[in-house]
């Protein structure tokens, strides 16, 4: 009970500290040597500490199942395992916002600690913008979604956490994803601050780069975790559905990807100043935009914890405020950029990065349109539509082809100007090799379209070229090489996976047998067991191929009572060549089980390649810290 008050007061204290920092910072902005400036670090730490206190109060409330707290009551349950009691803290709207705030305050503190080499007025301005964001979220938290609302009289039992959220991957997915989202706020604040002080230059790029890498790496990992979870938990056997909720996490990732590249150009060549600032603004606003769409209940998904229009309206207002503020600052201070007329050579690394940015922005706009068009149409004409995978596939796949070609050649070019491409012969040889492989696939598998064949050829090309680059032993660019290699592997495994995947669905009773190519799938028996907070129905399947090699798969159906929900646990047998994926569902109270068996080649390589992509980012972060 007391923890409710501690958590609540800690938040209020945070708001007071935050406003003190905000207003005093504005006052002392031009004061060279104020007492406040020297002690800002401690103040920021205190603020972080109080948010942490508030956060831990909520965690302990969850652990102790204190149902006097409304958030705990709505999202927890006594018989839930301890691990999920803890992860339940951020498995709901209020708690996840508190986590968001915790990371925001930590970022502000950590930025100030690590930015001592920046001009002091720029640091202070960054903190001012950061405090503005923090105050916005604090107001929102305290007013519209307070996690410490007290219920009286105290109920005996909570409502429980949605069982499909009771999963180890989903317990760490939000913190990782939030680290990615929230650390873009530092890039946003810092770019606005540097813009106002006329400090957008190669030195700024060099310093802010690590924040860009941090956000990008965590966002990549966060999306990956969500994707793996969807793969085994939702029972569709896919990893990406072009669902609006996935799209809104992909959009900031794309603009961050553009930023990761363009900040290099700014650092090395001192061009693209305004573009870098625009990208920083876009990235952060897309992140907030995602929060708005998800939390307002406009999109219906697992992330929509509560459909509360008031909350949506608040975030929308806050979003527009931030966008207007940043656009205003951008146009007022735009002339402060160092103008230089450096020539851009078409045959250079700089230009290939600009090309990359154009393509990425195109992909971003396609996804943006596909995601928000249905919402607009519904508001304007009350017509309900959805935009499915065909739209995205059609508009993205053809443009991936030139994108991958530029991605293969770009990193091999030099900065500024390239006179001749070294080892041209090698590049041509690899190109022919990739085309031959793609034609081979095209010839033998009739369901491959021409479009896909070309895409396959260029992704093989990128794959070979990145492998060849490793052989050069150029340790300076290791992070870039690993990420690019990971990306080529990702495209390749997604392609091969979609070409060679096969499946069969059927409704089966115990003893039934179905055929799948040269294999037979037999439902042998059912088994019931009882676990701590759910009943388990295990289906025993035997899969036998023509060489009489047997594989036993045991998918489960779990019946939870709080809240009353049924979930399916797929049985997945993974090896380096393929995943064998079997999922069953109950249909009514019936002897029939709804069964789906899939063979998905190279599934594990999709995960591995995404890990490789983010590994490049991790290496970069570590490299920066070493210096």
């Amino acid at each position: 009970m007391i923890l409710n008050y501690i958590g609540n007061f800690a938040l209020f204290f945070c708001l007071i500290l935050s406003s003190i920092i905000f207003f005093t910072s504005i006052l002392v902005l031009n004061n060279k040597n104020s007492f406040f400036k020297r002690n800002l670090n401690e103040l920021l730490f205190f603020k972080f500490f109080f948010t942490l206190l508030s956060f831990f109060s909520l965690v302990i409330l969850f652990i102790n199942s204190e149902f006097s707290n409304e958030t705990v009551l709505n999202n927890s349950h006594i018989s839930k395992p301890l691990f999920y009691k803890i992860s339940g803290t951020w498995g709901n709207h209020e708690g996840s916002l508190l986590l968001w705030l915790l990371i925001l305050t930590f970022c502000a503190f950590f930025y100030f600690l690590k930015s001592k080499n920046r001009p002091s007025d720029e640091r202070l301005l960054t903190i001012i913008f950061q405090e503005l964001i923090i105050m916005g979220f604090l107001f929102f938290l305290l007013k519209a979604s307070n996690p410490f609302n007290i219920i009286f009289p105290v109920p005996d039992e909570g409502m429980g956490l949605n069982p499909i959220l009771q999963d180890p991957l989903l317990a760490i997915h939000p913190p990782i994803l939030y680290l990615g989202y929230v650390s873009t706020s530092i890039v946003f604040s810092s770019s606005l601050a540097a813009l106002m002080k006329g400090n957008i230059n190669n030195l700024w790029a060099k310093d802010i780069k690590s924040w860009v890498y941090i956000s990008w790496t965590f966002l990549t990992l966060g999306i990956l975790l969500g994707s793996i979870w969807a793969y085994y938990e939702l029972g569709w056997g896919g990893f990406w559905f072009w669902d609006p909720v996935e799209n809104i996490s992909l959009m900031p990732w794309l603009s961050l990807t553009a930023l990761v590249h363009c900040i290099l150009v700014l650092e090395k060549r001192s061009i693209l100043h305004s573009w870098t600032v625009i990208l920083s603004i876009i990235t952060f606003t897309l992140g907030i935009c995602g929060t708005f769409l998800v939390r307002s209940g406009i999109l219906n998904s697992i992330h929509t914890f509560a459909n509360d229009p008031e909350r949506g309206l608040y975030i929308l207002f806050f979003l527009f405020f931030l966008i207007f503020l940043s656009i205003l600052i951008f146009f007022i201070y735009e002339d402060k950029f160092e103008t230089n007329n450096k020539n851009l050579n078409f045959y250079s690394k700089d230009f290939s990065i600009i090309l990359n940015n154009w393509f990425v922005m195109y992909f971003l706009s396609v996804i943006l349109i596909g995601t928000i068009y249905p919402i607009f149409l519904e508001v304007l004409s009350n017509e309900k539509i959805s935009v499915g995978p065909p739209f995205f596939n059609k508009l993205i796949i053809p443009f991936l082809i030139p994108f991958l070609i530029f991605m293969s050649i770009g990193p091999n070019l030099k900065w500024i100007k390239n006179n001749k491409l070294s080892n041209k012969l090698n590049l041509i040889f690899l190109f022919i090799l990739s085309i031959v492989i793609a034609i081979f696939v095209f010839k033998f598998y009739s369901n491959v379209t021409l479009n896909i064949t070309i895409l396959l050829a260029v992704s093989f090309y990128l794959f070979f070229i990145t492998i060849k680059d490793f052989a050069k032993r150029n340790y300076k660019n290791y992070s870039q090489m690993i990420s690019h290699f990971g990306f080529s592997l990702l495209v390749l495994s997604i392609l091969l996976n979609s070409i060679f995947s096969n499946e069969v669905t059927s409704n089966m009773r115990v003893g039934d047998e179905i055929k799948f190519f040269d294999k037979s799938i037999k439902l042998q028996r059912l088994e019931n067991t009882k676990e701590a907070n759910f009943l388990k129905l295990i289906a025993h399947f035997k899969i036998e191929d023509k060489d009489k090699i047997e594989l036993l798969l045991k998918p489960e159906i779990r019946i939870y009572d709080k809240p009353e929900t049924i979930t399916s646990e797929a049985a997945i047998k993974t090896d380096i060549f393929r995943d064998r994926f079997l999922v069953v569902n109950l249909v009514k109270e019936n002897d029939y089980l709804n069964v789906r068996y899939q063979e998905k080649p190279f599934m594990i390589w999709i995960w591995i390649s995404a890990i490789l992509i983010s590994l490049g980012g991790i290496i970069n972060i570590l490299k920066k810290n070493e210096k």
Binding site: I369, I385, V387, N507, L586
Partner: protein, 139 residues
């Protein structure tokens, strides 16, 4: 005359505007081709003729309407005013139950018969398609 640099810039500007227009055209065109309309059983009843396009039908699964055999599932989607028969073969989501909300994607065979290709998962046991909620509120 203008120097080479200005000409190059003009060309560049022209090309970027041209490609922007082309891309907008392409995006809008594929949007038009690939959107899937969401209809309730009442909307379907009010159609003049069954469309051949892919649509989504949302409503509640009617009580006692799920029938299953080894290769397909039959059920009825209702919005408590009108209903439509659905046939489906494939995997169903966990929350597919009688008296719960459902969204099916597929093609209309005629105005009272729908062949579903996909049953969409809703991850909330209390989920109800907005139309159904609205029509329940009216009643």
């Amino acid at each position: 005359m203008y120097n080479k640099k200005v000409k190059l810039r003009a060309l560049f500007l022209f090309l970027s505007i041209l490609s922007a227009i082309l891309i907008i055209f392409l995006v809008l065109k594929s949007l038009e081709e690939n959107v899937v309309y969401f209809l309730s059983p009442t909307d379907i009843k009010n159609l003049n003729e069954a469309t051949a396009e892919k649509i989504r039908v949302g409503g509640m699964v009617k009580d006692q309407s799920i029938k299953i055999n080894s290769d397909k599932i039959n059920f009825i989607i209702t919005d408590f005013k009108n209903e439509i028969n659905v046939v489906y073969s494939g995997i169903i989501p966990n929350l597919f139950q009688e008296n719960k909300g459902v969204v099916a994607e597929g093609v209309l065979k005629d105005k009272s018969f729908f062949e579903a290709e996909k049953i969409l998962a809703k991850h909330d046991e209390n989920y109800m398609p907005p139309e159904v909620k609205a029509s329940l509120g009216e009643n």
